[in-house]
Every structure is written in structure tokens, then in C-alpha cells.
């Protein structure tokens, strides 16, 4: 399975997710299976493509931007589904469905060349957990950022929604746990591959910036603050995260980063 086959999996999967998201947002409630089944079907289809793609490449599909977008779309949809199971926020399900579709669409419109090469530095036990855990954290932070924007929208006219703040906290804390775990795995790996666990490589520096931004949110919330400034930290932190993930190569400071692979 290569990128050629991707649309045959991604299009039906995205359709399933969008249907589930729209149904979840309907004013008249539908049976929960009408939402959960398409959600699951989309996830299974998407996972099947990733698995088959991995098999064909004979290396983990985590090297290129397009490949990480693939996982991000999957985790967004998965996290959205789990969130819906626990919090029953229909609009969030729709939002994650739309975002996952957008990421899959980029991969469909601009497919990458088939490439089986995996540079020696990436041939490590740590490669898969390091990257997968990061992408999982990114998905949770994406959801937290959108929840925060909804909170800010509400706070223009009304007092803060504590239910929504509780949800933002949940996503931010779990996301931060994964971020730290991904960071630590990366540190252990860097020590094994490059001889230092932390060297302020541009990508590492951006990870530090991202982590610090989320720490600010976590500590402001530990104080119980609910003002708009607190809600703003989540979208701003997510923006920094996106810069570090998608834009490392754009940063003047990032030329010569050890983390630039393709």
C-alpha cells in the first residue's frame, strides 16, 4: 500500500467522521450508535491504511511531514471520539472530524513520493514511541485550544463556563503528560544517538517553549483563575506548538538542526 491508495481509505473515513460529527451536533438527539459506529468505522479504515502502508514501506511511516500528518489526523479523530464518549460535546466531535479531514486532505492533494529510505539515526527503538506520543500530545492540545477559543467566545458576554474549563484542564494535563513523556523518550534517544540528552537544538528549543507555555496554563489554573488571559494561553501555546512542528525549517534559528530529516 502506498500513497496512491490513500484516497480510497481517507475519503470514506473522513465522510464517516463528518457524518458522525454532524449527527452529534443535531438539536434532536439521535441514537448514540448512529454516531459511534461511523466514528469507529472511519478509525478502523484509517488505521488499516497506516498498518498496510507501514508494511509496504518496511519502516515506520513517521519520517516525513506527510506521514506525521497521517497520524495526526488519526489521533485527532480518535481523541475526538474518546472525548465525545466521556464529555458528550457534539461540537467538539464535529470540530475534530473537520480538522482530521483537513489534515488528511493535505496528504491527498499533495502526496509525497514513495520512499523506503530511513536514515540510520532514525533506526531506533525510540523512533516510534517518541514520535507517536508527541503526535498524540499535539492532538490533545489541538482539542484544548479549540475548547479555549469556545470559552473565550463565551467570555465576551458571559462568565466562564466551569464545565468547559474542566474539559480544557483535562485535555491540557493529559496532553502535557504525553508531551513530557515524548520529551523524555527523545532525551534518552538523543543520548544514545548523538551523545547528549539535551543540546538546545532548534527543535528541542521549540519543544521547551511549547512546554513552558503549557506549564504557565497549568499553574495559572492550579490557582483557580478563570479569566480570559488564562483561556488565551491555550491557543497561544498551540500556535507555538504548530510553529515548532510544521515550521521548524522556516525558523532562521533552525538551519542546521539535527531534527530536520525531510
Amino acid at each position: 500500500m502506498t500513497w496512491d491508495a490513500f484516497p480510497f481509505f481517507a475519503l470514506p473515513a473522513a465522510l464517516c467522521w463528518l457524518i458522525a460529527g454532524l449527527l452529534a451536533c443535531r438539536a434532536r438527539p439521535v441514537h448514540r450508535l448512529a454516531i459511534e459506529l461511523p466514528m469507529l468505522a472511519g478509525l478502523v479504515l484509517f488505521a488499516a491504511f497506516i498498518a498496510a502502508f507501514w508494511h509496504t514501506l518496511a519502516r515506520p511511516p513517521l519520517r516525513t511531514m506527510g506521514e506525521t500528518r497521517l497520524w495526526y489526523a488519526f489521533f485527532l479523530a480518535a481523541a475526538g471520539h474518546l472525548t465525545w464518549l466521556r464529555w458528550r460535546d457534539g461540537w467538539l466531535l464535529l470540530l475534530t472530524a473537520v480538522m482530521a479531514t483537513a489534515f488528511a486532505a493535505v496528504d491527498m492533494l499533495d502526496p509525497e513520493s514513495h520512499s523506503i529510505a530511513l536514515m540510520p539515526a532514525l533506526q531506533s527503538f525510540f523512533f516510534v514511541p517518541h514520535v507517536v506520543i508527541y503526535i498524540l500530545a499535539y492532538a490533545l492540545f489541538g482539542i484544548a485550544a479549540f475548547a479555549a477559543l469556545a470559552q473565550l467566545w463565551r467570555q465576551r458576554t458571559q462568565p466562564a463556563d466551569t464545565h468547559l474549563f474542566a474539559f480544557m484542564d483535562e485535555a491540557a494535563h493529559i496532553g502535557f503528560g504525553f508531551l513530557v513523556l515524548g520529551l523524555l523518550l527523545g532525551a534518552v534517544w538523543a543520548r544514545e544517538a548523538w551523545g547528549h540528552y539535551w543540546a538546545w537544538d532548534p527543535k528541542e528549543t521549540l519543544a521547551f517553549v511549547t512546554g513552558a507555555a503549557y506549564l504557565i496554563y497549568i499553574h495559572l489554573r492550579a490557582q483557580g483563575r478563570t479569566d480570559k488571559l488564562v483561556a488565551w494561553t491555550l491557543p497561544v501555546a498551540f500556535l507555538l506548538l504548530l510553529l515548532g512542528w510544521l515550521g521548524t525549517s522556516l525558523f532562521p534559528g533552525a538551519q542546521g538542526s539535527l531534527h530536520l530529516y525531510s
Binding site: 483535562e170 494535563h173 513523556l181 517553549v209 513552558a212 490557582q223 532562521p252 534559528g253
Partner: protein, 426 residues
């Protein structure tokens, strides 16, 4: 009741001014004495500094009911310090950083003199780092002290999460700071069949190294290369904006490049060219070659022939002319793995034979030896191998800190916002 500025209890304004003040003091120091010299902190100075820090923390716990200590171990101070470090780190991503602080004479221009040429070796950064270490240390110590006297203040699970996150980070930050002063690294190049024991650091001074390394053999494996359509005029892969490549993959012998359907009729991973013919041969100079058929999907024209990147032998090079505009060529193969078979000798007369690979270093006597480089122009015919040697006596405490932090991260994942304190204090 309104509180005037600097009147206790301090809040965010005082905390922000405090962090700014530390940075300002750092900039003043930076302008007068130049970049922070981590060598000043080398063993045992870093132990002394650490002991001093612990004394300060103990003093803070002793006077924990003063408003100052309450503030120092409180959230506004923590947020201000984290934010200040964030700003410095953000600057680092925006401008290229020097690998080492510039010599005082070379640090021309205000930006470089203020420490921005290498932020992590600048006084503002070092002072903020130290202040964070102090504030974090006092926070942890006070929490431990508080729980030991009033176990009912927090649930044990709550304490566990808090302690793992903060104590783990404190140990890691302390060990990383000390390690920055004591870490030694050097690069050594060894020719095949020879033994080397001299290494030089970046100033060119020989380092005392208790090791000699003999390189028995250097081997390199390559991936099958890719094919690309090249413009005959500009010699660039097409399409210009986003070049497309066709991976040679035995599992997929057919593919498309532009208007051409390409099929790989035969692929030799190790080929040599003899009398114009490509043959499989494991000779050292061998290089990948492929016999392909290219069919134009627009006009049906077909081209056949051998393609080879050439490797180290100019005469092996072969490309396939397709039409007036394009020819088909092979990219340089990418390395799949490279390894050095070495023997390391220690002063005690020990001989340790090992195979070094990327991601598979060897540790002897406190030094870790890494496969670092080779002659990339020569590829698999490289006659030497480069090793990086690293010694970090503070690695173990750093790893312990990371292990504790991992537990903290797991409790964040498991409990989510439950790690947050219920209700508010402050």
C-alpha cells in the same frame, strides 16, 4: 483594602518585576564580564554551588512563614520565571545561535554583547535558570515539610504526582546544569587498520584520554536509490517546484514520473560496468544500476537502457535520454546503516572488541564512544571512521531525574486535571 506595589503578599506584578530584574542584572553582568564561562563551575565548584543552593532552600524552609518565602514558593513567581525563560528560548529559535560563546573580541555588536549570540551561555539565562532552581527547590521542600507535619493537607496520590513532577524536574535541571560544566566531548578520526589515541577539543588542546581505538573495518550499506526526470538545460530534477522521485523498490517495479511510465526491468544493487555492460559484482567500487523501460504516455514513444549514478567511478555513470527536454537519472543512494568494527584498549591492558553503529554506542571507563562520521564523498569506500567520545559524570543523576519525571508524566496522563489542586489557596 488596596495593596501598594511591593507590599506583601506579592502577586504577579512583583513577580514579573522580579524576573525582569534578574534578567536586567544578567544583562549588566553580560556587558561587563562577557559570556558565562561554564568552566568556572567545573568539579568541584558545581558541588559547592549545589551545596549553597541546598543551604538556601533549607533556610527558606526554616523561615517558611515569611511572606517572601511564601511568595518564592508560590505560583506567581513560578509563572514569571517560566515565562522569562520562555521568552529567551523563543528568541533562540528566531536567530541562529553560535555553537559556542564568541570570544570577547569577536562579540561585536550590541546583540552579541548582550548575550544573544549564544543565549544558553549568557548571564541572563544562567541567572534565571538558577532562580528557577531555587524557587522550584523551595516549592518542593516546603511541600514535603508541610505534608510531613500535616499529612491530611493532601491526599498521598496528589502528593505523589506533585513530587514526581517537581522533584524530578529539579534533579534533572540541577544535573544538567552541573553537567554543562563537566561534560567533555571530543572527536577522533581513525583510518582503517590504524590505532589512534589522540583527541583534541575545539580549542585544539589534546585531551587526556584513557583509551586507544583501532579501526578494523568500516562497512556501509545503502538503500536502493531513486530515479528522477532531469531537465537537460538546467540539470535540475523535475518538476522544478517540487521534484518527484521514483523509489526503486523490488516490491514495486513500476511507477510514473511526469508523462513517463517507468518500469524497472532489472536492478543490480552492486554493479560494475565492464565494456559498457553492467554486471553484478561485490567489488568495493560497485554501485547500484538499473535497466529500465520508459514509455511516454502521451505519444507512446519508448526508451530502454541502463541507468547508474556512478558511485565513485566516473566511467560507471549512465543516464537515459528521453526526449529533447528530459533525461532519466539515478540519485545517490542513501546510507542504510554504517558500522565500525573496533578494538578499544584501556590503560589496564583490557581489549574490548565491538561494533559501533549509529544508535549503538559503546561505554568504557566513563566514556561513551559514538559512531560519528565517515568520508561521505567516498561512501562505502571511506578509508576512515569518525568517533565522538563523550564523558558526562552527571548523567546518572540526570537519568534519575528523568525517571522520576516519567512517573509524574504518567500520573498526569492517568489522572488528568485530577493532579490539579482542589480549591484554591494563595
Amino acid at each position: 483594602m488596596t495593596r501598594r506595589i511591593w507590599q506583601f503578599p506579592w502577586g504577579y506584578i512583583e513577580s514579573a518585576l522580579f524576573a525582569t530584574g534578574i534578567a536586567a542584572a544578567g544583562f549588566a553582568l553580560q556587558l561587563t564580564v562577557g559570556y558565562f564561562d561554564f568552566y568556572l563551575l567545573h568539579f568541584p565548584a558545581n558541588l559547592v554551588a549545589l551545596a549553597l543552593l541546598l543551604v538556601l532552600i533549607a533556610l527558606a524552609v526554616r523561615f517558611e512563614n515569611t511572606p517572601f518565602v511564601r511568595w518564592l514558593s508560590g505560583i506567581p513567581c513560578a509563572v514569571a520565571l517560566i515565562a522569562a525563560l520562555l521568552v529567551l528560548a523563543l528568541y533562540m529559535t528566531l536567530t541562529p545561535q553560535l555553537a559556542h560563546p564568541p570570544a570577547p573580541a569577536a562579540a561585536a555588536g550590541l546583540i552579541a554583547r548582550l548575550g544573544f549570540a549564544r543565549v544558553t551561555a549568557s548571564w541572563p539565562f544562567v541567572l534565571l535558570y538558577a532562580a528557577t532552581l531555587l524557587a522550584l527547590g523551595v516549592t518542593v521542600a516546603r511541600r514535603v515539610y508541610d505534608t510531613s507535619r500535616h499529612p491530611s493537607h493532601h491526599t498521598p496520590r496528589h502528593d505523589f504526582a506533585f513530587l514526581c513532577n517537581h522533584l524530578g524536574l529539579w534533579i534533572l535541571l540541577a544535573a544538567a546544569g552541573c553537567g554543562a560544566a563537566d561534560m567533555q566531548r571530543a572527536v577522533m578520526y581513525v583510518r582503517e587498520g590504524e590505532t589512534e589515541w589522540r583527541v583534541f577539543d575545539r580549542d585544539g588542546t589534546a585531551l587526556p584520554l584513557p583509551l586507544a581505538i583501532e579501526l578494523k573495518d568500516f562497512t556501509l550499506e545503502e538503500y536502493p536509490p531513486k530515479l528522477a526526470l532531469i531537465d537537460r538545460q538546467t540539470n535540475t530534477p523535475q518538476p522544478e517546484a517540487a521534484p518527484a522521485f521514483l523509489q526503486i523498490d523490488p516490491a514495486r517495479p513500476r511507477g510514473r514520473l511526469g508523462d513517463w511510465e517507468i518500469s524497472i526491468d532489472e536492478y543490480l544493487h552492486e554493479a560494475v560496468r565492464i565494456d559498457g555492460e553492467f554486471r553484478a559484482s561485490p567489488m568495493p567500487a560497485s554501485t547500484p544500476a538499473a535497466r529500465v523501460t520508459a514509455k511516454n504516455l502521451v505519444n507512446g514513444k519508448t526508451r530502454r537502457g541502463w541507468i547508474c549514478g556512478g558511485g565513485n567511478v566516473l566511467g560507471f555513470y549512465a543516464a537515459l535520454t528521453l526526449d529533447e527536454r528530459h533525461f532519466l537519472a539515478m540519485t545517490e543512494p542513501e546510507p542504510k546503516r554504517y558500522a565500525s568494527d573496533i578494538v578499544a584498549f584501556t590503560p589496564s591492558g583490557e581489549r574490548i572488541a565491538a561494533r559501533l553503529e549509529v544508535n549503538k554506542p559503546l561505554t568504557i571507563g566513563g566514556w561513551t564512544i559514538y559512531q560519528y562520521s565517515y568520508d561521505t564523498a567516498a561512501g562505502k569506500m571511506s578509508s576512515y571512521s569518525g568517533f565522538e567520545l563523550v564523558r558526562d559524570p552527571w548523567l546518572l543523576p540526570a537519568q534519575i531525574g528523568m525517571g522520576i519525571m516519567a512517573l509524574g508524566a504518567l500520573s498526569l496522563i492517568g489522572r488528568g486535571a485530577g493532579t490539579q489542586r482542589a480549591g484554591t489557596r494563595q
